[in-house]
């Protein structure tokens, strides 16, 4: 395969990944790395570097829209970014010392977990809980627009959420993904932040988290322009198209299909990691 063909095929695959990632809310990053490693036989370190870059692009692009709508909470985002960025640097440092096979196995497990999480229906917590002391001190409580006006909400479980965010950062730095699933788990489940606020704030944070490890990846020569270029342009274009179609699409069916694809990729990654092929 010559460079022109490689760029075209990877660009097309990334376009599809970005499109489905935007439609299902899972992000394109989770399928880009397995696609590059399993299908195109790209070294997993180059694959992770390219994915990381595409994650920054889609997160920043989407965050621009969400911030304007007033869903994301900038204080929650910034406070938790102190955990995710430190975690991301630790993850990127770990990635320099462990083998590609080990990374592939962890990647596979995270894929399986993401698929499990996305197949469950999300229920908004209806009850209005009192704020915790720490959340009040940190001014994390806020409000967000709903059909019936601005809805205030309180934040709880700050230490647990913070710990999960450290973990999300490590995974992001190690695997080159946004770790949106773990971030939402921390905010939605541990901190009881309304779903719309946690997904948009998570998206807002993903770019900063990914930038923290991308600097290290670039410096260590893990970002190859020939791989990152088609991935970044493809995923970004796909995500933009996906965001436009989102309103009309029957997302539920798509989410199950995409979850099934992710399960297959996860099993493949674990198998190839265990047998030492990646």
């Amino acid at each position: 395969m010559n460079v022109l063909e490689f760029s075209a095929l990877v660009g097309l695959g990334s376009l599809l990944a970005g499109f489905l990632g935007a439609l299902t809310g899972l992000g394109g990053g989770v399928v880009v790395v397995p696609m590059l490693a399993l299908l195109f036989h790209v070294d997993i370190r180059y694959a992770i570097g390219a994915s990381l870059v595409s994650v920054i692009a889609t997160s920043s692009g989407a965050a621009a829209a969400y911030v304007r709508e007033g869903y994301s909470n900038i204080r929650i985002g910034m406070f938790l970014e102190t955990a995710t960025t430190v975690g991301a640097i630790a993850g990127a440092a770990i990635a320099m010392y462990v083998s590609g096979s080990a990374i592939a196995i962890v990647f596979g497990l995270v894929l399986l977990y993401s698929a499990f999480l996305s197949s469950r229906d999300r229920v908004e917590h209806g009850e209005h809980l009192p704020s915790s002391n720490l959340a009040t001190k940190l001014r994390l409580n806020g409000s967000y627009p709903t059909a019936s006006g601005m809805q205030p909400y309180n934040v709880r479980g700050v230490p647990a959420g913070y710990g999960l965010m450290l973990g999300a950062g490590v995974l992001s730095g190690l695997l080159g993904i946004g770790s949106g699933a773990v971030k939402v788990l921390a905010m939605d489940q541990a901190m009881k932040i309304p779903f719309k606020v946690s997904t948009t704030t998570s998206n807002f944070m993903i770019g900063v988290t990914a930038a923290a490890s991308a600097g290290l990846y670039l410096a260590r020569g893990y970002i190859a322009p020939g791989v990152a270029m088609p991935v970044m342009l493809g995923v970004l274009a796909g995500a933009l198209i996906g965001a436009r179609v989102l309103v009309k699409a029957r997302v539920k069916v798509l989410r199950y299909v995409f979850a099934a694809v992710i399960v297959v990729l996860g099993v493949e990654m674990i198998f190839n990691g265990v047998t030492g092929r990646l």
Partner: protein, 126 residues
């Protein structure tokens, strides 16, 4: 403190514009780099299966700028990626200023911490 101040909203609008501009600029530079790169290397064999690590000329800010001046497609792509990585960093730097204007000093410190971590990763790891 559940009402959103006018300042908060204005800050959010600026952050949104900043992020969008950064991504569009980065994508444009990468696209231009792609055209140059494919014209220069399109017919060569694609080999990314073995990890070698990119050379110094594509991993440091200085090396990348040198390459861009010599119209290297790879270096132009890396410049675009560098702009992309810098976009969230610029967003954090702007947030620090915004919190300072709001006299929210707790969040000025929190934001400066995040900025320090990001700058360490971008500049301090060479």
């Amino acid at each position: 403190m559940t009402t959103r101040s006018w300042n908060d909203l204005r800050i959010e609008v600026i952050i949104g514009a900043l992020l969008r501009t950064g991504v569009i600029l980065a994508a444009a530079v990468v696209l231009f780099g792609a055209v140059v790169f494919l014209a220069q290397h399109g017919r060569e064999v694609a080999a990314h299966g073995v990890f070698r690590g990119e050379p110094e000329s594509l991993t440091s800010v200085n090396g990348i700028i040198q390459g861009v001046l010599h119209l290297s497609g790879k270096a132009i792509i890396q410049l675009g990626l560098l702009i992309l990585i810098a976009t969230p960093v610029a967003r954090v730097a702007f947030s620090a200023v915004a919190f300072a204007i709001e006299r929210d000093y707790l969040y000025v410190w929190i934001t400066l911490f995040v900025l320090a971590v990001l700058l360490y990763s971008l500049l301090g790891s060479h």
